[in-house]
């Protein structure tokens, strides 16, 4: 068959030279390569003490934001759950009662809100889908390793941003 590109090369099997058959030159070459690596700078990052530098758009653990007055922004619209390709988000919605205006910004809020960190692929689509700017993927936190699977289902207790108790100017 005519070659489609002219990059075809004829392969030939050459007889090995004496030096090649004697192994030793090749072994010496290999040893010199490994010796070079012996003195090279090591690639290891000493993990708990050092962490790898992250990009500024790095996506980490989710956080449910509060607004300036400390009210939860999420209105349990479910758009994030729909957008999520991994189906990691579940929630139940509830109606805000009278007197709870300082807790929830909208009339409807998320009673439970769970992200399964084992399913989540940290794509950030929930963040993009949210109309209330309520969910963000933090750039400095990761979901740490745990022993039990249920511990990877993060509820509101671990997702909602803690209240700022002291006023910062």
């Amino acid at each position: 068959m005519e070659p489609l590109s002219n990059r075809r090369k004829q392969v030939e099997k050459k007889e090995m030279t004496f030096a090649e058959r004697a192994y030793l030159p090749a072994i010496a070459q290999g040893l010199s390569i490994t010796l070079k690596h012996f003195f090279k700078k090591k690639a290891t990052i000493q993990y708990p003490e050092q962490t790898r530098e992250r990009s500024s758009v790095w996506r980490g653990l989710h956080v449910l934001k509060r607004d300036e007055e400390g009210r939860e922004r999420c209105t349990a619209c479910g758009l994030c759950a729909v957008a999520c390709p991994a189906e990691a988000i579940t929630m139940t919605a509830g109606e805000r009662k009278v007197g709870e205006e300082n807790l929830y910004r909208e009339e409807k809020y998320a009673v439970t809100y769970e992200v399964n960190m084992l399913r989540c692929i940290f794509c950030g689509l929930c963040e993009e889908a949210c109309p209330k700017a309520a969910i963000f993927l933090q750039d400095d936190k990761i979901a740490p390793a745990r022993f039990e699977r249920d511990e990877f289902i993060y509820g509101k207790d671990r997702l909602v941003e803690p209240l700022k108790t002291t006023e910062t100017k």
Binding site: L24, I27, G30, L31, I33, T34, L35, H37, F38, F39, K40, K41, K42, A43, T44, Q46
Partner: protein
Amino acid sequence: MESVDLLYKAIYILAIFGITLLIATYSTYFERKIAAFIQDRVGPNRAGPAGLLQPLADAGKLFFKEDFIPAKSNKALFILGPGVAMLVATMSSAVIPFGDRLIVGGHEIVLQAIEVNIGVLYIFGVVSLGVYGLMIGGWASNNKYSLLGAIRAASQNISYELAMGLSLIAVLMMTGSLSLREIAEQQAGFNWNIWYQPLGFIIFLVCAFAECNRTPFDLPESEAELIGGYHTEYGSMKLGMYLFAEYINIFVASAVMSTLYFGAYNFPFMENLRQAISDPILANNVVTLVGVVAMFTKIFLFIFFFMWVRWTLPRFRYDQLMKLGWKILIPLAILNIILTAGGILLKDYLF
């Protein structure tokens, strides 16, 4: 023998035993460190400063693991296997001269556990017994992988012992003695055997790798195809003994190679150092101690070389191993004997 001598011998033997075990323990640490460095990693560094307590942690782990004996195995032999491997490995360092003689209080102390005039034969005999440990263990496990590993170990050791012995004969022809101490003494200063026996040394080195079951000849325990070979069924400290015996064998092989080819405790400018010190007893002691350091430096360099090669070369295929042993190394060793004989005759004729 005087009782003082006996006491000294006992202390010396215990010291050598301790040093052997210590070096074998820390060989595991250095093996891991060297492997890591060659692969651009840093290796164990959590247990103690720079990971120096890692061998202790490993030993502790091995001790506390379940000591398991397979139901269908031959129990007595199963226990005997690692014991034999360990015993034989520790026996062989007895005849190695780690240094010349020290003079303490008019007493002459020879830094060698047993001075025998057949040291080389003793080493060979004991080292070839080592394969019994692997054979017994592999056979007793009642596991086909173990058995295959044991068979490989046996045939490999037999094949390579031939070439090893033949390459050694050339050295013996030159020195005319089977005593390791005499061989060491003849290499005074920088007059090492390696200058006269480069080919013999390479053959001996390759065979030493095969005898110690080290890569590229680690077929008896090749993880990929035999899941660990003869020690597949072993766990806990019995496995530890096998691994330990391997490192002791490396230490002994390094010591033997240093003694036979690299001048043992001799180092360049030895006589200059001896003459520089006026008091003859002090001079002798200083030279001896520096000699001991030189010996151990050589041993450590060889151990490093063993590890360096392990993390560079892939494993041979079994037929290649046999081909290398029988068709290349043995003829080369015979050629080396003929060349050496010719050289000796020529020297006698000319001078």
